[in-house]
């Protein structure tokens, strides 16, 4: 893990605490930010970036990350595609993700925006759509992304089988079943990453 990112997360946690004393009282953000740079997230997002890099085959394009949270997925993609020819946009409907994303990953040429993926006017400009928060999203929204995207745009989606959290509304028992649920025209990669106590599933295709 990169110590600079972890240091920034610590400084953000300090700021959230300071803010809680006199302004917005939201101490849970500290836990959420720390969780976002957890080893599990670091590894599962690096897994996606590495596999997509193998399959994508270009050094240029435009990636859209749906449910990008504070930006760890965008950061891992930037590590795989360090050149500026690859545009990376991290989107999330929670406006605080944009605010903290800019701070955590300043200098990594990542754009953050606040928008619900369902409100995106078009996905035609993107060469890849990435979503590692599928367990938090309605299945019909995932299908909608696939239906709206251009034929040659890559998708790389992750979900998991961790059903015990109330925010996990779209878990799947196996990677294969998750892949079948997406009905991609071309499926390039389906696999499982074993985490501590649950499995993370990934599907990459078009």
């Amino acid at each position: 893990m990169e110590s600079k990112i972890l240091y920034r997360a610590l400084k953000l946690a300090e700021e959230v605490y300071d803010e809680s004393m006199y302004g917005v009282d939201d101490l849970y953000r500290i836990k959420d930010i720390v969780h976002s740079v957890d080893k599990n997230h670091w590894e599962s997002k690096k897994w996606l970036a590495d596999k997509l890099f193998e399959l994508y085959g270009h050094n240029a394009g435009k990636f859209y990350i749906a449910g990008g949270w504070y930006g760890m997925m965008a950061y891992q993609l930037r590590q795989a595609w360090p050149e500026p020819q690859m545009n990376i946009i991290s989107a999330d409907c929670d406006p605080m993700c944009e605010e903290y994303g800019w701070r955590l990953f300043d200098g990594y040429d990542i754009s953050f925006k606040t928008i619900d993926v369902n409100d995106e006017q078009g996905l035609s400009e993107y060469s890849g759509i990435i979503n590692t928060s599928c367990e938090h999203m309605e299945q019909e929204d995932l299908i909608s992304i696939i239906e709206k995207k251009p034929k040659h745009t890559w998708v790389a989606f992750q979900t998991n089988n961790y059903v015990d959290l109330h925010s996990h509304i779209n878990c799947w028992p196996t990677a294969q079943l998750f892949a079948e649920s997406l009905s991609l025209k071309y499926t390039a990669y389906v696999d499982t990453l074993q985490m501590q106590g649950f499995n993370r599933f990934m599907v990459i295709g078009k």
Binding site: Y28, P95, E138, H166, I169
Partner: protein
């Protein structure tokens, strides 16, 4: 007055709904908002799952505050783990405000820690006017870009309502008994709540 309960998931069977319905004298305006109406007594009016956003277990209680929820006027909600002892003809509540149980039995430093978000009210019994636009703001506020964050931050709707600063009233203490914290009382409450206790249908008889 409408009386309603919410049954989602498999924690409580239809037996619990039917028991509540019977204890309330099989009243005409008894509703159950549910994802599975199998086994419910025929006198119960079913409000089927209203769909998106998909919510798990008790978070579905918030849907009752949606302006599109198909109820109008004075409404009384019960959790399925309450025992109705003595339902009065008149409830002394302010219908223009939302009213919850005052968990006055929660004492001690643990409940006041800033970081645990615990609250001294609970939603095992709620009254409100379903036509009140101020109540609809609860559902609207939940369904902003922060919804997923709220689901991570708060363990349930009680904490969401208190810490997102919605105003509420509380019932007279004489209306409620907490089986866990007030095992022995010298009054007859409207309901006994089994909150924080494992409960089977036999406990409610």
């Amino acid at each position: 007055m409408n009386i309603i309960c919410v049954k989602f998931g498999t924690k409580y069977s239809s037996e619990f709904v039917n028991k509540l319905f019977t204890d309330l004298n099989r009243c005409d305006n008894f509703y159950c908002y549910t994802d599975d109406s199998n086994g419910l007594d025929k006198g119960i009016k079913v409000i089927p799952d209203m769909g998106r956003p998909t919510l798990k277990v008790w978070w579905n209680k918030l849907r009752m505050f949606d302006k599109n929820f198909p109820l109008s006027g004075k409404t009384l909600f019960f959790d399925l783990d309450v025992k109705v002892n003595n339902f009065p003809k008149y409830l002394n509540v302010c219908w223009n405000k939302i009213t919850f149980i005052d968990s006055h039995w929660k004492v001690g430093k643990l409940y006041n820690r800033l970081s645990n978000y615990d609250v001294k009210m609970n939603s095992s019994m709620i009254t409100w006017n379903a036509d009140n636009p101020d109540i609809h703001k609860i559902w609207d506020h939940f369904n902003t870009g922060f919804r997923d964050y709220y689901l991570r931050k708060y363990k349930g709707i009680d904490r969401f309502i208190v810490h997102e600063d919605f105003e509420y009233e509380t019932f007279s203490h004489q209306y409620i008994q907490s089986k866990k914290y007030q095992p022995d009382i010298d009054y007859t409450p409207i309901v006994t709540t089994f909150e924080e206790l494992p409960v089977g249908i036999k406990d409610l008889i």
